[in-house]
Symmetry: C2
Subunit: 717 residues, 2 copies
């Protein structure tokens, strides 16, 4: 692995570039100097104590910097971010530098103990936690205000001085990963552990969910095929299929929680303590005291935020939903008008006109989605959430509701107002298949093609510049910095969520939906993998323990699908034929069945434990051990303290005795001990030297890191 980095023109042989920082062109020298100094500065001086060096290119002055860190610094950083790693006894524990020897695969010279994505995550964390001391502004930019404790990187980003920070790809590793992931044509599981090592937990979890979801759809698809093949229309068969689907969707969502727990336990993120969350970059407010930390930072009244949410955002979203429904109604009117026109005229032009409403509607929906997305982002940002997580949740909720309505409103209208099952099936199939094809094209294949063309062009340009054609670091950084940025798993999950809606909401009308979903997901895995490996910049790893709000979204969808399917079955002519005399009995029966199914769903969700038994036991064991250790530790610590006091007193008395006797001084004693021929005395003084160095390290660990890093030849002589 080291070979791919060895050719680099780095200052030190040990410097391994991990993260790239791109500053805006024309950034003032003064600012650059101050910023790089703060990055390199010691922890005790409020710096990040990382290594940084400029990328020297042929045309120069591109303001691109490479950031790295010494091995020791990374280990201390791993402790800082609360990384959980596997121990020698196969249990998972939070890594601490002092207990480093107990961890699996740890060795002082093993640079691979931390994966590259972990190192990059640590560096990102350290950079983001580089805080202003007493600077009032960023040097050179008086408009970029700072206050003590403000994250410097975030202020630089919001002021446009810092263009981007991104982690570098590891070409060798990426090649390996690509090969095992989608390089071979074989049926098998994805290499989730390798994906996690390379891209981090959030992305690995998405691929894990995608894979699991695909497998979980297979039974639905298998059961759905005969319905299509034999054109079964018997109501009893449909009822069976729908019932199976509804219970199955509950089971798969519950089982996913368990599988997710197993995976994230293995990855260590299940145990990772939630770090204290910093305010998100866009958060603003008057400077005040945070009641939790007691530190000075901007505060914003929660009541104001609530008012903004309930008085502005909620009405706005409702208005948008209403507007979307209104547009849908216009579409249906247009459709009807086109149909009537075609009936009247029966010309070529009129048959073409039949397609016009659909095209207009599709375009309008797409436009509305885009505008709404911007509006939602603006509104959520205006709500001024303190934490990134709560910002994300509010944004996801807003977008989800609107997308749900946009996608499914027309289907609901066809099903429950027009009562046209044939049209429903047709629309469903069209919507599902076209959206899947378009998505995959727009999401991966098109960017991949564009990317490839761009790369080719750039390579030609490089060639013409007579550069070294070998893959140098400069070329890598330059090509990666132009790649698109992956904005997180939101759109990928949204796609899956809507697909789940198509499959489950009307499953009893169109059993084939699951088949298409399975087929789509298999190619989706490949196209998403391609996207991650080829199209986008490498994203920073984000530790996560579950799929968060999406679990709730999928569960809500499966509750809604119980209602829709029950109504659909109740409306089917076969079921209606069963109750020839009384529509009322039919409806009551349907309502009863629906309530029963819902009750069963909730009981099942309640009865199936969220974590498998062995994970539960492991977690309980850890909790028990930490309780025991806490008791032990308190006792130990006090003992050590008292012991130290005792020894100090003992030492003072001895010294005093000797001093009073007048025949010895400490300096003389030390000299005497060091020069003594006696082996025992020599051993004692060497040990003492060692202890002193250790003590210095403990009192100021970051300082000594620097010392060790700069004096690798430091040994006890």
């Amino acid at each position: 692995m080291k070979e791919s980095w060895s050719s680099v023109d780095t200052l030190e042989t040990n410097f391994r570039p991990l993260v790239v920082i791109e500053l805006a062109k024309g950034t003032k020298e003064e600012t650059i100097e101050w910023f790089t100094k703060r990055i390199v500065d010691k922890k005790t001086n409020g710096g990040a104590q990382l290594l940084i060096k400029p990328l020297v290119t042929e045309n120069g002055g591109e303001n691109i910097y490479l950031v790295g860190a010494s091995h020791l610094r990374l280990l201390l950083g791993a402790e800082n971010v609360g990384l959980v790693k596997e121990c020698n006894d196969n249990s998972m524990r939070a890594f601490t530098y002092s207990s480093r020897k107990t961890f699996k695969d740890f060795a002082d010279d093993n640079q691979n103990f931390l994966t590259m994505s972990e190192c990059q995550y640590i560096i990102k964390h350290e950079l983001e936690n580089l805080r202003a001391k007493d600077e009032k502004m960023i040097p050179g930019y008086p408009q970029a205000k700072l206050y003590p404790g403000k994250s410097i990187v975030r202020r630089l980003l919001t002021n446009g001085i810092l263009v981007q920070i991104f982690p570098l790809h590891d070409r060798e590793e990426l090649k390996k990963l690509r090969h095992t992931w989608y390089g071979q044509v074989k049926i098998g599981y994805q290499p989730l552990d390798e994906i996690r090592c390379y891209f981090g937990e959030t992305i690995a979890l998405y691929f894990g969910f995608l894979e699991y979801f695909t497998f979980a759809l297979i039974p639905m698809a298998v059961i759905g095929i005969p319905y299509y093949v034999f054109a079964w229309e018997d109501y009893d068969k449909y009822v069976m299929f729908a019932t199976f689907n509804l219970l199955w969707s509950t089971v798969i969502l519950e089982v996913w929680k368990r599988i997710c727990a197993v995976m994230t336990y293995r990855w260590g993120t299940l145990l990772m303590k939630r770090q204290f969350e910093e305010p998100r970059p866009g958060f603003h407010g008057v400077l005040g005291i945070n009641p939790v930390t007691g530190r000075e930072e901007p505060v914003y009244s929660s009541i104001k935020r609530q008012l903004r949410i309930y008085l502005v955002s909620v009405p706005f979203v409702c208005l948008c939903l209403y507007f979307s429904l209104y547009v849908m109604m216009i579409y249906f009117d247009l459709e009807q008008w086109a149909l009537d026109y075609h009936e009247e005229n029966k010309s070529n032009f009129s048959s073409l006109m039949l397609y016009v409403p659909s095209i207009i509607y599709a375009v309008v929906i797409e436009i509305m989605n885009r505008i709404y997305r911007y509006a939602a982002e603006f509104l959520t940002s205006w709500e001024n959430h303190r934490l990134e997580s709560s910002y994300q949740n509010h944004l996801i909720l807003k977008v989800l509701v609107f997308n749900f309505l946009n996608c499914f409103a027309s289907l609901f209208y066809i099903a429950f107002v027009l009562f046209d099952m044939k049209l429903l099936r047709q629309s469903l199939a069209t919507l599902l298949i076209t959206s899947q094809i378009l998505n995959q094209f727009a999401e991966s294949l098109l960017p991949y093609w564009l990317q490839k063309r761009y790369m080719k062009k750039m390579k030609e340009r490089m060639h013409s510049l007579k550069m070294d054609t070998d893959l140098s670091l400069v070329e890598q950084v330059n090509s990666e910095k132009e790649m698109g940025t992956y904005f997180g798993t939101f759109d990928d999950y949204l796609e899956l969520f809507l697909q789940f809606g198509y499959v489950s909401l009307f499953s009893c009308v169109y059993p084939l939906a699951a088949v298409f979903a399975v087929l789509n997901n298999i190619t989706e895995i490949y196209s998403d993998a391609l996207k991650m490996c080829r199209v986008y910049k490498r994203p920073f790893a984000e530790p996560t323990a579950n799929i968060g709000v999406w679990q709730l979204a999928f569960e809500t969808m499966s509750v809604i699908s119980v209602v829709t399917n029950c109504i659909l079955i109740g409306m089917s002519p076969q079921v209606n034929a069963l109750f020839p005399d009384s529509k009322m009995d039919l409806i009551l029966t349907v309502a009863l069945v629906e309530h029963l199914l819902l009750a069963i769903k909730f009981v099942m969700a309640f009865v199936i434990p969220d974590k498998p038994r062995d994970i539960q036991i492991k977690l309980a064991k850890l909790e028990f051990e930490s309780l025991e250790a806490l008791k032990q530790q308190e006792r130990m610590q006090l003992t050590a303290m008292h012991f130290a006091v005792l020894l100090i007193l003992y030492g003072i008395r001895n010294f005093h005795c000797l001093y009073q006797k007048g025949n010895i001084s400490t300096r003389a004693l030390t000299y005497q001990a060091q020069s003594a021929e006696n082996g025992f005395l020599r051993l004692v003084s060497i040990l003492q030297l060692f202890v002193l160095s250790q003590l210095a390290f403990l009192i100021c660990p970051e300082g000594s890191v620097e010392m060790c890093a700069h004096h690798p030849s430091y040994t006890i002589t």
Copy 2:
């Protein structure tokens, strides 16, 4: 307060009896000796290090023992059980002996720092954790097997050697509490904090919930009264009332969570770490290794338990439910038959016969309830749950389902099969009012009367025995040991749960139910208070942070009530008159409204935070502080360790130097130092003596506790 204990013939003046242990009559001397020795024995020898003394009565040999503990022992015990107390800075923190000075109202001579119920809880905890060492059986009882780590008290209880353990009342405090609680005729809140101090959190929380629930019902009652007074029968008014009720019941349950969090934060139980739960007394299995603690204890396969639950218990419960429904059908048949008989004969006898079915049914229901309760207890105990909490949950679930059906099945039948709203209203009123009156009578007033009669008799007997008529400890213990045992809040909550059912399930038919519920609850508070203070033995305090499974039960009831009320409104003639043409539209409208209400309920439950903002901040602050402290502590501890090592080495070297010089020995040095006239040397040796004693305390704190307790005059001279 001390006066009430001072008259006692205790061995030491400091001995304050807290807990009473009653052994079976005729228990072997050998067993008593062994048991008391284990209670008194030092912690290091595996004892409980408590104080115990026999209660000397005139007729002797009653095998009653009083247990107490020294103040220091109780403080160490408080740390052990993880008690959370208020600090000087008004924050709540887990009490530790080493940080005792930072707690509010702490002083070494303040015996009231721990409330009496806390002391009793600590003693109970210590007694229950008195574990067998290498005894194979209880001495004198070869059939009572022991294994290392088995709780001795639990084995003694299951073998009937130990009759009971109960905490003593504090007559003075109880008198004060009675006065403020129900002594004065005044409208006001209950003294929940005092109740909590005297009876512990579980009981205080029950009374808190009862009070809150009564207040919460008042709006329903107030709105319900005009419906009765003006005999409103307009559907729109009913719809309004029902809608208000449904949303209100959601709000009150959510708000309760918040109020509960505020209360339990103040009491410290919200922060109390869940102790590692020990196996419950009845749990049995083959000896194995607990995978969590790694200790030897009985283990029982979880699969076997699951099989027992799903293959035996669940079918049995279903059978019982079916049987109960069957009995109800017979009752309705009998009723019909009696009505027909009366119609035919019209005699006095026949009109008497009209009451027979109801009476038989009431008796049968009561019998069924009793038998079922026994069966449920037997089954749940046979399921062999390891933890008391999971045993309780399974038992509550079983009893709840059956009681729900027994109470409400006939009402459901009248409402949704017979469609007889008049009969429904009548039955509802009868059931609600009679059950309330009967309950209060059977639960408090009858036992109180019996108790009073018994006390009078005993007092007379005492008088005839020419005993000191003043309230002596002997008399107190003897009277309290005969009092009934309070078996927890289960039945009280069950009563409230069923009342909530009467109020909410059919609220739109009988709005007056809330009025009766409010009236009942006001008297219920007084009768329950009477029961706690006068009828039963003092119960052990149980720390708890919420009302547990009952929250879920009440929430489920409020979901069911949405469904029933929607159906009832849909069935009302006024609403039917609105849809004269199509029954179908009516049902669809009702179903739509029901789904909307359910959706609103879930959204409300989701949106209202479970904890008020200030409690959230306080909890976040504590978490943040503990994270920061952990980082600090680790560094500190290591520093201390290294410092100690350094000093040891320094000491060794100095000593070695001196030894080599041949002019001094450690013993001589120590002697010299102690006999020195020099003030500095003297100070050093005194300090050293102090440190040594502290060190001894830390290495074996329980041992030194004993030392301190037995030598209160121990000072450094």
